[in-house]
Structure formats: C-alpha cells, structure tokens
C-alpha cells in the first residue's frame, strides 16, 4: 500500500473532511490505485525541464492589468444573501475562542 489508513485520516484533517471509518478504508484503496498509476511519471527524467504552471500567451507583462479605479461592488446585503447564518451585517460562525 502506498497510503495507510492513518495517512488518509491525516490528509482528511488537512482537507477539513470528516470521513467515517468505512469511508477511510475505501478512500485508502482508491487513492492507492491512482497513486500507483501516478508513479508512472518517475519513468521520465525531468531534470532541467521548467515546470508549466499555466498556459501563457504572447503579450506584454502588464497587458492584463486593469486600471486602478474605484468601481461599484456588491452591497453588504447582497454579499450576505447566501450566508447560512448572518446578523448585524456579518457572517456568523460558531464561537472560535473558548472562555
């Protein structure tokens, strides 16, 4: 196995996902399969190759910068409209700091 149940639990913690015990086992198996396939990349010697972060087009570096000017933005009410819980113009969340 390339990934243990324990590692799956650690990654789930990082990803803020609560996985049930049966989900952990299935996830470990699925990730193991795909990671085994991914190992294929090690067949390639990539020393000296530039990593490609995105697709680039030919243009001046500043070509896609927009003018720095004020524009109307969403109102407070619009920004909060999809919040599951809000009040007094803020998003509300469970208490963060314990007394």
């Amino acid at each position: 196995m390339k990934i243990t149940d324990q590692e799956v639990r650690r990654v789930a913690e990082l990803a803020a996902l609560a996985l049930r015990d049966d989900e952990v086992e299935k996830m470990a198996k699925d990730l193991d399969n795909i990671l085994s396939h991914i190992d294929k990349l090690n067949e390639l010697d990539t020393s000296g190759i530039e990593p490609m972060a995105q697709v680039l087009f030919k243009a001046e570096e500043t070509a896609t910068l927009r003018e720095d000017r004020e524009k109307p933005c969403l109102s407070n009410a619009e920004a909060l409209a999809n919040a599951p819980v809000s009040g007094s113009g803020y998003f509300k969340v469970p208490r963060v700091i314990e007394r």
């Binding site: 799956v8 990803a15 996902l17 396939h37 896609t64 599951p84 469970p94």
Partner: protein
C-alpha cells in the same frame, strides 16, 4: 426545435414568421415537457428568458440589430453563475445558491440576443466523465436512454442532442465538453485556454478550466464562440488577442491542409470507434487534406499529470465551501472546526471528496516536489509534443474517446478506469490548445462517435474549417 439553427431563427424573426417571445415560450414548454426523459435540466429560467426575448422583439420592431444570437434558446451548464438564477454545480452544497452576479460569458451571450432557457445538470463541480456524480441524479443519453451522456457537461450535450436547446455552454477541464459531445452526437468545442473569460465559471482547476460551446453544427458552435470570446478585464488569464471572424472563414475548402494522426491516440481504441475515425480521415483525404502519421510521445503520462495538477488545484479551490458563505451549514456543528468538517462531509459527493483528498495529499508536506512539481514539468513536455507536431502539420485529428457511450452504472465502481478513459481529451487540455469534437457517424449499435480536431494556440479558425468541411462532405 431540432431543425433550427442560429441562421434559421434569425431569418424567421426578421421575416416576422414568429416573434422571439412566442418562440421562447414554445422552447421553454418543449424543454420542460421533454426533460423527464433525460434529466438534462436542473432549473428552467422562464422569467429571465421571456424578458430577454421581449428585448429581442423590441429591437426588431425598432429596426435595431437584434444581435448575432437573436432569439436562440441556449442551455447553460449549472457551474456558470447566473445572477438571481439558482446555480447548484450539481452539488447538494449549493442546492439553494443564488449568485449575485453574472458570468462574463452569460452577459455577452445575452447582449447578443441569446435566450437562456435553463441550467443543465452535470457532474458535481464538473468532476466526472459520465454525469453520474450529480447530486440530482444522472442524465440519460437522448440517443440511448439507458446510457450515460458523458461528462461532466452531460446535461448541456443532452439538451442540444435532444433538441430542447439550439446551443449550450459547458465547461471543460479534462474533456468535459468534447467527450459528452461525442457521446451525444453533437459538436463541442474547447477553445484555447484564455480565449473565453472564466469570470463566473465556478472554479475547479484554475489552470485547466475552459468555457466551451455545444451546437448541432460547426457553424453554430463557431458563432457562439465568437460571441463569448475575447479579453475580459475581470479575468487576468483571458488573452488580449483579437477574435477573428470564425464563421466567415468557413468556405468548405481544406485542400492542401496538413493533418497529423498521432499514433498514441490509436492505441486501446475500440474497433467500432476506430472504424468511424478512419472513415472520417478518408473523407478528409478526399477533400484534399494531406494526412501523415505523427507522434506525441508523452501522451501515456497525461492522465497521471492531470490527476495531480487538477486535484491539487481543486483541493485549494474547493476550500471555500466551508459552511460560512455558501448557503449550506451542517446543523449539528458546535465548533468552527466541526462546522467545516461536517458541512463538507454532508455536502460533497464521493468523487469530490476523492479528488480533494488526492489533491491535498499531493500538495502536503514532503510530497509537493515529488508530485506537484514533477507533474508541472511533465506538463511542459506534453505541451512541447504539440508545439513540435504543429511545426509539421496544421491540425491533428484523433478520436475523442476510446469507446462510445456506456451503460449507466457500468463503470461507477472503478474510479481509476473512469479516469483512464479520458486519455485522448486530457492531453489537449493540459497543453491549453483548441480542440473540438465533431460527429462522425454511428457504431453498428447506433451510438454516436466523435472526431477530435486539435490545432495550435489561438488557431480555432483552422480547427473550425476542418470540422465544417468534414461536416459538409459527410451530410
């Protein structure tokens, strides 16, 4: 509705054979009546559609130009945000999400007189190849109702194939426009990365996401792309390159064009699909194209590269669904950490969780260089393969998928097998080049097959010319 094109609707409107309002009302009724067969639509937008139609009628009455897409019913994949119109991403998490703004592609489409009639089903957050990962049930393929329409833009492809919309917008990250287009027998286009603004496209993998059109003809797909393409100051990755007149270049003449057949795209291909592709290549030869064998040697590494880069980007992008801003929060959570975890556990489907987990793993401490940077380097090699090929040929022709539409439920238990079936589409997505699927006949079982055409960055025109010439010769 099945026989209408952009041009025939425009002519009907200008000759006063029908009004945009009447036509739209009929289109909406038809789409709602037909929807139970395929489950292609998640939401219909009657109010918005009728308002847009009345605006088209007003312009015609006033003698103004009603726009390039005047009165044309368009279905929009439910990952593209529409102001005031529910946008779910086919996720339970966003079941009640009402966006406060419109995507740039939506604004341009409506400015051109297009009528958005509804939002289409898809794989949750565009993650999937069969449309079986929707929280609102799978879409059925209009060509064979027991089969998948492909994914992730399955609903958009099905809507156009079923004739409930004349055009549709989808999104493509690793093949999510081309593969469903091929499965449903319609035309689907993935433009060059940066050609169409991604502003308002719910993000999956930022460096790979594209908005792309569906249509029943190359000409209509090209016209729709012409409307939505071009620089947008709301998306820094949208290219400041002029948009050519795509439809004006479609004259049916492709003699002397050099086409490449990549040998790596003909391995593992089912013979019924291969037969249709070879027949299409013969047609293109008859039209005067010069066909030669080429090699894209890094193709076998594309799936591994994609599932590192796409999932890494997705794991970061989907972090925003935390129970604070987007409509859904787990009721039971008492602490902030529990709210995050439980909201995401209840809200995301299995495929989203799998990809978030894989992406988080490949980005986590100790693995970043081994996986993520390695994949980015291989991506460079894949892009170079194409750049070298386009020194020898004007376009590449290939299959879209190794097989036609499969049965619903047939492949759900083996996610890796599902990933591997995207081999012919994922490589083009990684390079960011334009690619499309054009229908090239049926298998002996009556299932559609798509011919893929790929060209170099920003050369959509050559791609459309090949597709259009093929279409004219084969119909």
């Amino acid at each position: 509705m099945r026989d209408y094109t952009i041009t025939s609707i425009r002519e009907g409107l200008l000759r006063k054979e029908f009004s945009a309002a009447d036509f739209t009302r009929e289109a909406l009724e038809h789409a709602e009546r037909e929807n139970p067969k395929t489950n292609a639509y998640l939401t219909f937008s009657a109010v918005r559609a009728m308002a847009a139609a009345e605006e088209v009628d007003r312009k015609i009455a006033a003698g103004e130009d009603p726009g390039a897409l005047a009165g044309v019913p368009v279905a929009v994949k439910d990952v593209i945000v529409t102001k005031g119109l529910r946008t779910t991403c086919a996720s339970k998490l966003l079941e009640h999400y009402i966006p406060p703004y419109d995507a740039t592609a939506i604004l341009r489409l409506e400015q051109a007189g297009g009528i958005i009639i509804g939002k289409t089903n898809c794989d949750e957050f565009a993650m999937g190849s069969s449309n079986e990962n929707s929280a609102f049930g799978p879409v059925r393929n209009p060509c064979a109702l027991d089969r998948v329409p492909g994914g992730s833009s399955g609903g958009s492809a099905a809507a156009v194939a079923q004739g409930t919309a004349v055009l549709a917008l989808g999104s493509d990250t690793g093949g999510s426009v081309r593969q469903p287009a091929s499965f449903c027998g319609v035309t689907g286009v993935t433009p060059t990365y940066g050609r169409v603004s991604r502003y308002g496209l719910t993000v999956f993998a930022s460096s790979l996401d594209h908005i792309g059109p569906f249509a029943r003809t190359t000409r209509d797909a090209a016209a729709l792309l012409g409307v939505i393409a071009g620089r947008d100051e709301m998306d820094a990755t949208s290219a400041p390159a002029p948009v050519p007149d795509y439809t004006g270049a479609l004259n049916g003449d492709v003699s002397g064009l050099r086409l490449g057949l990549p040998r790596e795209y003909f391995q593992g291909l089912e013979s019924a699909t291969g037969d249709r592709i070879h027949a299409a290549v013969e047609t293109l030869k008859r039209l005067g194209c010069e066909v030669r064998d080429i090699s894209l040697p890094h193709t076998p590494y594309a799936i591994a590269t994609y599932y590192i880069i796409a999932t890494a980007e997705a794991s970061a992008n989907l972090a925003r669904y935390d129970g604070v801003r987007y409509t859904t929060r787990a009721a039971s959570a008492n602490t902030l950490a529990d709210m995050y975890r439980e909201t995401r556990d209840e809200g995301f489907g299995a495929e989203c969780k799998r990809r978030i987990m894989l992406g988080t793993y490949v980005l986590s401490a100790g693995y970043y260089d081994a996986y993520y940077i390695k994949a980015q380097k291989v991506r460079t090699l894949i892009a170079r393969d194409y750049a070298e090929a386009f020194e020898q040929v004007d376009a590449i022709v290939a299959p879209v998928s190794p097989f036609p539409a499969f049965k619903i439920g047939e492949k759900v238990d083996d996610p890796v097998a599902m990933y591997l079936s995207d081999i012919y589409t994922i490589t083009g997505s990684l390079a960011g080049i334009p690619c499309m699927s054009v229908p090239c006949g049926l298998t002996p079982d009556g299932l559609p097959v798509g011919l893929q055409i790929l060209t170099s960055h920003f050369d959509e025109t050559t791609m459309f010319r090949v597709a259009d010439a093929y279409e004219r010769a084969s119909t």
